[in-house]
């Protein structure tokens, strides 16, 4: 695998200014994606995983303020680029796949026409070229009988087929990065398996990198080589999949791994994370996970812990990493 850097985000912050105050949805995250890599971003609703990617694409409403020290994509500096510039570039080089294909597709247009339209507007293709490319794309996403399928409207397709169409549109211009935001959450497991296999196959076929946003650790384990764990707008831990699944060090990651039953099927009580996620209008000054953390100390309430590097790839923010902090070990599963 080449290690060419595709995307680099440095200290990204996104704040929504709404009538009751400022929602600090993303609080200074830094992450990168290399070419040909699949990176998973895992977190619960409101952890900032989707907003951070929408910020990158500048797909947020006007009342969202986005700032970053640096955003580099394919060597281009997007930090201070205008919305139009970013959208033009991203429309071409970054594809997006959302959770709900039904709301992302135009119900009044046939599949074929809306796919062609994108190509004709973005790529200035002729009608005939666009039609040819659409057939090719439908084949690439394994839609059987593309000629008759493209004459159908979105409601005539099943959820899995619609998601294939969305993926086809996302890869229409051979993007170097596909951001998939909960692409299989609305689908049944057997269909989820089909879509994940398709995404994996596309990485090999067209060499695209993938950022997979999900709440499902199982989906990440099967797809991604690297994992970023978000909580309360911050990245609390990141590392190679093996590091996150086998030697996690952050209590929130422990909590996530323990709150799902293991495949072997034991009937011991699950260990839930107590409490509820933080209010991002007035986030606590300290570690966002402190109110729910079973190992919280006094210092955790005062300020955000700094980044501890455990390896070239494994990093986390937790005061338990400090010298003199109590030794708390991950038992590798439930007791």
């Amino acid at each position: 695998m080449s290690t060419k850097r595709l995307l680099e985000i440095d200290n990204l912050t996104t704040t929504f200014h709404i009538h009751v105050g400022q929602v600090q949805a993303v609080r200074g995250i830094s992450l990168h994606v290399d070419q040909g890599e699949a990176v998973g971003i895992v977190g619960e609703s409101g952890s900032g995983k989707s907003v951070s990617m929408l910020s990158l694409m500048r797909l947020l409403p006007d009342y969202a303020r986005i700032s970053a020290d640096r955003i580099l994509f394919e060597g281009q500096d997007l930090t201070h680029a205008s919305v139009d510039q970013v959208r033009r570039l991203s429309g071409d080089r970054i594809g997006m796949v959302f959770q709900d294909p039904m709301t992302s597709l135009n119900p009044l247009m046939t599949i074929g026409r809306q796919m062609q339209e994108t190509l004709r507007v973005h790529r200035k293709m002729s009608r005939a070229d666009a039609a040819r490319r659409v057939r090719e794309l439908l084949g690439l996403v394994d839609i059987p009988d593309p000629d008759s399928r493209q004459k159908q409207y979105p409601h005539e397709l099943s959820g899995g087929m619609r998601q294939r169409v969305m993926i086809g549109m996302a890869i229409a211009s051979n993007p170097s990065l596909v951001i998939a935001d909960e692409p299989t959450t609305a689908l049944d497991v057997t269909i989820q398996a089909q879509i994940l296999a398709l995404l994996k196959g596309l990485m090999d076929k067209i060499g695209t990198s993938i950022i997979l946003i999900t709440h499902d650790l199982g989906v990440i384990a099967g797809m991604c080589s690297r994992v970023v764990v978000m909580y309360g707008g911050c990245i609390v831990e990141e590392g190679l999949s093996r590091e996150i699944f086998y030697t996690p060090r952050h209590p929130y990651t422990w909590g996530l791994l323990r709150s799902v039953p293991r495949k072997e099927g034991d009937h011991a009580p699950l260990i839930p994370i107590q409490g509820t996620p933080p209010d991002l209008i007035n986030p606590p000054p300290g570690c966002p996970f402190e109110p729910r953390c079973p190992h919280a100390m006094r210092i955790c309430r005062t300020a955000m812990p700094g980044v501890t590097r455990l390896s070239d790839t494994h990093r986390l923010r937790c005061y338990l990493m400090d010298e003199g902090a109590p030794r708390v070990a991950w038992e590798g599963g439930r007791a």
Partner: protein, 325 residues
């Protein structure tokens, strides 16, 4: 288990008429549940799994007689409730309750929490003070604060709302609770809280659950017995450990293998069976076995004959021509 089951469904079917009712020509019949039989014993959790549209929710609603089955019989504690009128059902209603999937849609936004929880108590002869005391007791039981009683649903998070829904289900002192996807709208860390609570309540109060879910790992965790449905049919049914270790139906095998495993090595090592295509249209189901259009081991006989659900020993039932012949 020789005791009389709390719930017994005998070849229960449910058909819905779909389409325009004026022009008869366009009216079509959708068989949501097709000849399903099952027993659920007291204190047991019966897990029901399957993909969307397989009829698992309809079956749950049939068992508490929210629907009247098109054919077949349903016994509750030995009593035939198949064709009871709503009035006749009334005394039984308090014994059977439901917990719904969407904690946002299932609570009336204009009612306070105490009104919501007290609703099932309205038809009882409890006086105001006793109802209030019962509401406070239920709130504590589901891990909420007594002071929450005067608040409205919008003031609560998804997990807390689900607790309110559970408190309402418990209010009338039920025996049998249908949990229809009770955790699928919740965040992972909250799901475990709710599942643990359901288990704890069962141990303390002896509830019988029908746990309907598409989350196989949670079903495996919480259930004693599990049934797998496909296109309105029960295709396999067995005690939980037997089902998960000796799954016999090709659909069950595909379904289990499709579940993502939160372990990179195990995930890489697992042999995935990826089914082709989608579930067929339930208004035009395939002839013979309902699964034959996607089955990786289909045989000619599968198109001609519908396989019967047969006991292959140890309470393990399978409907497949490949099994037991």
């Amino acid at each position: 288990m020789t005791a009389q089951p709390l719930i017994r469904a005998d070849r229960v079917s449910m058909q819905f008429t779909v389409g325009s009712s004026i022009t008869r020509a366009r009216r079509r019949v959708l068989t949501a549940v097709d000849q399903v039989s099952l027993d659920i014993h007291r204190g047991e959790t019966f897990g029901l799994v399957g993909e969307s549209g397989c009829g698992k929710t309809t079956l749950g609603r049939l068992l508490v007689r929210l629907y009247r089955p098109t054919s077949g019989t349903i016994l509750y504690d030995g009593q035939d409730i198949t064709s009871l009128t709503p009035q006749q059902m009334m005394p039984l209603r308090r014994k059977m309750q439901m917990i719904f999937q969407d904690p946002y849609a299932s609570l009336d936004p204009r009612m306070t929490v105490s009104t919501i929880i007290a609703e099932p108590l309205r038809r009882t002869d409890m006086d105001r003070a006793r109802v209030d005391a019962r509401v406070r007791e239920l709130l504590t039981l589901v891990g909420l604060d007594e002071n929450h009683a005067r608040r409205y649903p919008h003031e609560f998070s998804g997990g807390q709302r689900q607790r309110i829904g559970i408190a309402r289900a418990l209010a009338a002192g039920p025996e049998f609770i249908v949990c229809d996807e009770p955790i699928s709208a919740l965040d992972v860390s909250i799901q475990a809280q709710v599942v643990n609570m359901l288990e704890e309540l069962q141990q303390r109060l002896g509830f019988t659950y029908l746990f309907v879910s598409h989350d196989l790992s949670m079903v495996r965790h919480i259930s004693h017995r599990v049934g797998v449905m496909y296109l309105g049919h029960m295709v396999e049914m067995a005690p939980v450990d037997e089902l998960f270790t000796h799954m016999a139906h090709p659909y069950t095998q595909a379904l289990m293998s499709a579940v993502p495993i939160a372990d990179p090595d195990a995930s890489a090592a697992s042999q995935r069976i990826i089914l082709q295509g989608d579930v067929p249209n339930p208004m035009a189901p395939p002839s013979g076995c309902p699964f034959r259009t996607r089955c990786p081991v289909v045989m000619p006989v599968c198109a001609d004959q519908k396989p019967a659900l047969l006991d292959i020993g140890g309470g393990h039932w399978v409907a497949c021509h490949r099994v037991g012949t």
